[in-house]
């Protein structure tokens, strides 16, 4: 397949691996930020082919995983309402809230649907004026432009039966939070290529300079990751700390300015709680006051308040927080593969294919 096969070439991959082996003279710890990158690394066994001293830590870049439990509980409360058609990307449906998940709610009769684009949710709303269509807007900077477009579209159509449950998160503040954490071990980052395709990489330059940490904008195919790792190791060996772009076929320094404009128009930066990590200042997006009427949490505030009254309960055995911060591996968790499996997940990282625990489990990693 054009644009895919050439980034999966086994001969080139072995050459890059040999380069990493030849370049690394000391132990280094590198974090890949995005869950899609984790998936490729674990599926292809890249981490096991690297030099023993080059350690990959799997980062918090799984939007499903970092969506806070309270927000999931709000989603369940809103989706249970008889007038609501609740729409979401597929992998949110199995994430456990405090009391069940969206798939089980659907089996009990709630109108919960998988959509492939937020604009599909807007179309549903336009076609069914007697229903209220809610879209679960989760994700990083990657999905924010499409979600912004959906709000603008609903606004242009004058729809009053469409709203969004927004739980958008932003990558640079999360990287900063990891670097500020006292138990941080990360010495270099592979930044998420698709996030940078939207946002560019200027936001990462002050981070690289301030923390003296190399950041390599990296794609998602095996060769992308191997090259990203090689560039990071070279910087570490040379004592450099720059922002480098491995993903040149998709990312420019300034990013996609039209997409950024749409996001800036519809959303504003806010402090957001990341599941497993806690509140991150300026760590997410919320709807701008001008578009507050599309805020599902505001529109269904009574249902949301009822849920908050019940409290949100994380499973006590789940160490998702430590895994998302990169301080523990799934195989360090007592529940991993025993009480927690993709069939019966205790925490979000076991649900999404982007999640580190699911990536490990699907690849058959054992303790």
């Amino acid at each position: 397949m054009k644009y895919l096969d050439e980034y999966r070439d086994p001969v080139l991959a072995r050459r890059l691996l040999a380069d990493v082996h030849a370049t690394a003279t000391r132990p280094w710890t590198i974090m890949e930020v995005c869950g899609g990158q984790t998936h490729t690394i674990v599926r292809q066994g890249i981490d096991e082919l690297l030099p023993e001293d080059v350690r990959m830590i799997h980062g918090p870049g799984c939007p499903v995983c970092v969506t806070p439990l309270e927000t999931l509980d709000h989603a369940l409360a809103i989706a249970a309402r008889p007038e609501v058609t609740f729409t979401s990307f597929g992998d949110m449906l199995r994430v456990p809230g405090s009391r069940g998940d969206l798939l089980k709610l659907r089996a009990r009769g709630a109108d919960v649907r998988v959509v492939y684009s937020p604009l599909d949710a807007v179309r549903l709303a336009a076609a069914a004026p007697d229903r209220h269509v809610v879209f679960f807007a989760v994700g990083f900077e990657t999905t924010a432009p499409a979600n912004a477009m959906a709000v603008l579209r609903a606004h242009a159509l004058g729809l009053d039966n469409f709203s969004m449950l927004v739980s958008h998160v932003l990558v640079p503040p999360a990287i900063t939070a990891i670097l500020d954490s006292p138990d941080n071990q990360v010495q270099a980052f592979l930044a998420a290529g698709h996030v940078c395709a939207v946002m560019g990489w200027t936001q990462y330059e002050p981070i690289a300079a301030r923390y003296r940490v190399p950041i390599v904008v990296t794609g998602f195919e095996p060769l992308d990751l191997l090259e990203g790792i090689l560039l990071a190791v070279r910087q570490l060996e040379d004592g450099r700390h720059q922002v480098e772009n491995q993903y040149t076929r998709a990312v420019r320094r300034s990013g996609n300015t039209a997409a950024q404009d749409a996001v800036r128009r519809v959303f504003q930066v806010t402090t957001r709680t990341w599941r497993g990590i806690g509140p991150i200042t300026a760590g997410g997006l919320t709807l701008a006051p001008e578009f507050a009427e599309y805020d599902a949490e505001r529109r269904f505030s009574a249902a949301v308040l009822d849920t908050d009254g019940l409290g949100s309960l994380e499973n006590a055995d789940c160490i998702a927080g430590a895994i998302l911060r990169g301080t523990s591996l799934p195989t360090d968790c007592a529940a991993y593969g025993t009480t927690c499996t993709p069939r019966h997940p205790l925490g979000a990282p076991m649900v999404s294919s982007e999640g580190t625990c699911a990536a490990f489990h699907n690849a058959g990693r054992t303790r």
Partner: protein, 348 residues
């Protein structure tokens, strides 16, 4: 609006467009449906008996039944009618049987356009005729609107076992080669892109087709050395291999490079975040064959169009019994797991 107090005649106008509850009543309306739609499309006389007599000689009889609820009912490469015929023929073939006869049963939702029932029946009849397996009896029930989604189809098949073969999920042996008859991931991606109108520029067609002639060629060539046959339908190749590994208490080693995924299906999987190994197939099979017979069996597969792309994708081992390992393109090894629940497209 009609005046509710006005007298009106309660006898319904003759309905020729849609299925009515009365079509399932067992009365005259039902007889008409069977005569004018079902029997006409099947090209048979209306069936007067509730059971058919089939002469199977003295061989072992193999039987299988399967229900089909696919949405959408018509998709590139087939429809629920042809799929129901192929599905049961293939289930029989996987036990080494030559299919002899099929039954066809419908559960129809009131309101289904008759033209649609006609098209589905005609398609089932065509599929059965092409496969050379007659539909010998059947049943039709109609349920209230909302109690079913359009039409559900159940086919039951009987077949007779090939005299030299006893393929079974439990018969895999260490050293056996794993043969795959053709490309994977076509049916599931065709259904998903039709269901969600994903708008790929060129259409992905389902691989739905009968495999009994391919199996007959394999068994003629390999006989009892064809240990195991399985069509990897729902759950895909990954789930089929895992089931077989477990049932045979054997380890399966496959090579990622060797498993053919057509470019369009691969692109759809990339887009939707699906693993091609978990995507449903309806027109390929996987076989465990003794290494001494593998070449002859592979050669026999290549003589059939549905086996033209047949190849060895791996082998069986007594290490890691019950598990499927895959050598990745980069030379790493990962465990291939079964699909859990339904496939959920991911966010990004």
């Amino acid at each position: 609006m009609t005046d509710p107090t006005a007298l009106s005649c309660p006898a319904p106008a003759a309905e020729t467009e849609r299925v009515l509850l009365g079509h399932g009543s067992g009365g005259r309306l039902m007889a008409e449906l069977l005569r004018d739609v079902i029997a006409t499309e099947l090209g048979t006389d209306p069936i007067a008996e509730d059971a058919a007599v089939v002469d199977t000689g003295t061989a072992e009889v193999v039987t299988s039944t399967d229900s089909f609820v696919v949405t959408p009912r018509f998709f590139p490469g087939g429809d629920i009618g042809s799929l129901a015929v192929h599905g049961t023929i293939n289930d029989l073939a996987m036990r080494g049987a030559r299919p002899v006869a099929l039954t066809l049963a419908y559960i129809v939702e009131e309101g289904l356009p008759l033209d649609e029932l006609r098209a589905i029946t005609a398609s089932a009849a065509r599929a059965a005729a092409t496969a050379g397996v007659p539909i010998v009896t059947g049943d039709t029930k109609v349920v209230q609107r909302g109690a079913a989604d359009g039409v559900y189809v159940t086919t039951t098949g009987i077949g007779v076992r090939h005299p030299d073969a006893t393929p079974s999920a439990a018969h895999g042996r260490p050293g056996d080669l794993v043969l795959l008859s053709g490309p994977i991931a076509l049916h599931g991606t065709a259904i998903l892109s039709a269901r969600e109108s994903l708008g790929f520029e060129s259409e992905i067609a389902s691989d739905s087709r009968p495999l009994h002639a391919l199996v007959a060629a394999m068994l003629d060539a390999g006989g009892p050395d064809v240990h195991t046959l399985r069509d990897p339908t729902r759950g895909g190749l990954a789930s089929a291999l895992n089931e077989l590994a477990e049932t045979s208490s054997i380890g399966v080693d496959i090579t990622e490079d060797a498993v053919p995924v057509p470019p369009l299906a691969a692109a759809a999987c990339e887009l939707l975040g699906l693993d091609p190994l978990h995507v449903a197939n309806e027109g390929c099979l996987v076989a465990f064959v003794a290494p001494t017979a593998a070449e002859a069996v592979l050669h026999a597969m290549h003589t059939r169009p549905e086996g033209a792309g047949a190849r060895v994708i791996g082998s069986l081992t007594d290490e890691h019994p019950g598990r499927v390992h895959m050598r990745t393109m980069l030379g790493g090894v990962r465990v291939v797991d079964m699909l859990v629940g339904e496939q959920l497209p991911r966010i990004c």
